[in-house]
């Protein structure tokens, strides 16, 4: 009987994903660790394959983490966050308005139009909309939502939806736009958001982003070795540095889950998934 190498699931949101995981696979091989990867077209398929045992670990969006945790719990199992990037911790999302807007506080968004990312983007849709809901503004009721659905099922990994939202705001097509804090800086740098064109109306509390997820029943020693190797990757190593840069991190850190509490609440409030991990969002393709 042959045993498969430790197999990771990742979502192909960009061609660079192949470069990243081919590179990491080589790196793991050089460290004597049998590793392979499988690419999925979207997170829902990846989560379901994970539950079905097709892969051993998944590189999950925060929303994929929430669904994996819920599906696992419903099946009497347990999901674990074992590692994440330094850049996954303590992010915030912002609701931006034009600099010359008359909007001063979130409550003034009543009757206005707010641009968001894709339907399944935690950072540019679910978290900021839930944040506004907590302020008493029900999306689609108190204000209109103009969604920019780019690469749906990829949970907003592709930043195109956020860029479209920011562009619509700058062009005066919408009154506000939701995006992650880092992308606000990125869009300022590449000129999508001109200098002094926008200001922040409100900002979410800090939350965490992607995670390496495993389920109970996996081989603990192999997982420990995988995590040990991830955490040993050094930005000073010229072999692995280009891969870390492509993946957007300086160092891997041990996983943690308290940073997903805000998204769990948002998923419930916006009825994206049921408590059992079933997909309940209307208009979501699967």
């Amino acid at each position: 009987m042959t045993t498969r190498p430790f197999t990771l699931g990742a979502v192909a949101y960009d061609p660079k994903v192949v470069t990243i995981w081919e590179g990491f696979a080589d790196w793991f091989a050089r460290h004597g660790f049998a590793f392979d990867y499988v690419l999925f077209s979207g997170y829902e398929a990846q989560v379901e394959a994970h539950l079905a045992g097709s892969v051993d670990v998944t590189w999950d969006s925060p929303l994929a983490w929430v669904r994996t945790r819920r599906l696992a719990a419903a099946a009497g199992r347990e999901a674990r966050s074992i590692a994440m990037r330094d850049t996954d911790q303590d992010l915030t999302s912002v609701v931006l308005v034009r600099h010359d807007s008359d909007l001063r506080v979130p409550s003034e968004l009543v009757g206005r139009t707010v641009a968001t990312g894709a339907i399944d983007s935690p950072q540019a849709t679910l978290l900021p909309l839930a944040h506004l809901a907590r302020e008493g503004l029900e999306p689609g009721v108190d204000f209109d939502v103009r969604r920019f659905d780019v690469m749906v099922t990829k949970h907003g990994d592709h930043i195109g939806g956020e860029r479209d939202a920011a562009t619509a705001l700058v062009a005066g097509e919408v009154d506000a736009a939701c995006l992650i804090d880092g992308n606000q800086l990125l869009f300022a740098k590449d000129g999508s958001i001109p200098v002094d064109a926008v200001r922040t109306l409100t900002r979410t509390a800090p939350y965490d982003h992607c995670t390496m997820t495993v389920l109970d029943g996996s081989d603990g020693a192999t997982i420990d070795r995988f995590v040990e190797l991830l955490l040993s990757m050094s930005f000073a190593d010229p072999q692995v540095r280009p891969l870390l840069e492509l993946e957007g991190l300086r160092e891997w850190r041990p996983g943690r889950t308290h940073g997903y509490d805000q998204l769990e609440a948002a998923v419930d409030r916006l009825r994206f998934y049921g408590p059992d991990g079933s997909i309940t969002a209307s208009g979501y393709p699967r």
Partner: protein, 406 residues
């Protein structure tokens, strides 16, 4: 604020307008483990600073509003990974070729497209530049050749008096068109061969690449002016023969840089210097003579460059001369069954040197073409001698050169 902690003042500058540039400059001069204080009045400075530091790996401690009497917004500590790019980085030779060891014997493949003399972060792609040996490529005169070539560029529109009337007899004009047609296909090979090697040379040998690029530009210009001259009187281009193209094909097929340079530039373009000199003397109109003059100057530079790197190469590699001689012999045997220079070109040269199709004029033209061929052979022998061939070797090799001139 702690005494001694440097303070960076951003004023109203935010991260939407380049605040990170000032911070990077300040962090670069900060010793590891030390902090710097940031002060600024941009309304979103603290959250933007937090997001930027997260991405860059710097530690950021935001100070609660009004907690600092001097208005400090945050304290930063430089990421331990901030300067790792220069760890193990190597200097890829030196930009100035006159500095000792500026040009290394075999540049590393992972220097790739980096400028010679740059501090190169290790790792990264290793583009396959096949030609990466100094001894095969370099000449200390390369920088001077490039500078001279760049300074000698001419504009086909301005340098040639295209509006001058050309009133040659039809038979003489036809001879001009035939010679131009022949020159063009030769210039095409003289363009394609260096252009192909150009992409195979390691960019460390910058001046060699630059010189080949200018050579390619020269040949492109020659193709232009020869074509414009051929069609100036409304004629179509003339005959291109199989024999001529087969001779040129052997140059196109040659994969070895030294041999290709030798066959194309030393033997072929060297012979063309004589041919263009002949046209400068005997072409029937000032416009054609001017074109021959301009293109001959360019070809002379190409020959001189090839001679320079082959002379150096032959000094270092004593087996080179034998390889070059074998290449000429091999090409001679490959072309033995071909017609050589086509009759139309030969006869056209006689006509041009005659000036008119009268018997005595043709006799004179014939003698001039014979003298041209003698001059071509002597010039080849002279160049071969400069490359270190004995007189007997030079005679043999010169006599085996293609009858098609190039």
């Amino acid at each position: 604020m702690s005494p001694g902690v440097p303070l960076v003042e951003l004023g109203t500058l935010g991260f939407d307008a380049g605040a990170h540039v000032i911070l990077n400059l300040a962090l670069r001069s900060l010793e590891s483990g030390n902090a710097l204080a940031v002060r600024g009045a941009h309304p979103e400075l603290a959250p933007h600073l937090t997001a930027w530091c997260r991405r860059e790996g710097h530690r950021c401690r935001v100070v609660p509003a009004d907690a600092e009497p001097r208005g400090v917004v945050a304290y930063l500590e430089r990421a331990t990974t901030a300067s790792v790019r220069s760890n193990g980085a190597v200097r890829a030779g030196r930009a100035d070729p006159d500095i000792a060891d500026a040009i290394v014997a075999v540049p590393s493949a992972d220097w790739g497209l980096a400028a010679r003399g740059a501090l190169v972060e290790p790792g990264g792609p290793t583009p396959p530049f096949r030609l990466d040996r100094r001894d095969e490529l370099w000449t200390d005169r390369a920088p001077a050749f490039y500078r001279q070539s760049a300074a000698s560029q001419w504009d086909p529109d301005g340098a040639v008096g295209w509006s001058e009337p050309v009133r040659n007899a039809p038979v003489i004009e036809a001879a001009v068109v035939q010679v131009m047609t022949f020159l063009i296909e030769n210039e095409v090979v003289a363009l394609v061969v260096p252009a192909r090697f150009l992409g195979q040379i390691h960019p460390h040998f910058r001046e060699i690449q630059q010189q080949l690029a200018v050579i390619a530009a020269d040949e492109a210009r020659h193709i232009d002016v020869f074509t414009r001259r051929a069609t100036l009187a409304g004629n179509d281009l003339a005959l291109s023969t199989v024999g001529g193209r087969m001779s040129l094909q052997t140059l196109l097929d040659e994969p070895d840089f030294a041999i290709a340079s030798f066959l194309l530039s030393v033997m072929g373009e060297g012979t063309f210097i004589s041919l263009l000199g002949f046209l400068e003397a005997h072409a029937p109109d000032p416009l054609t003579r001017r074109i021959a003059h301009l293109t001959r100057n360019d070809e002379a530079r190409h020959v001189a460059f090839a001679m320079a790197h082959l002379e150096r190469h032959a000094t270092i590699d004593t087996a080179l001369r034998a390889r070059l001689a074998r290449a000429v012999d091999r090409r001679h045997r490959e072309l033995q069954s071909t017609a050589g220079l086509n009759d139309e070109v030969f006869d056209s040269l006689v006509l041009l040197a005659a000036g008119t199709p009268e018997p005595e004029a043709i006799r004179a033209g014939w003698n001039r073409v014979q003298a041209l061929q003698h001059e071509m052979r002597e010039a080849r022998q002279g160049r071969l001698a400069r490359l270190g061939f004995t007189t007997a070797e030079a005679d043999t090799i010169a006599s085996l050169h293609t009858r098609n001139f190039m």
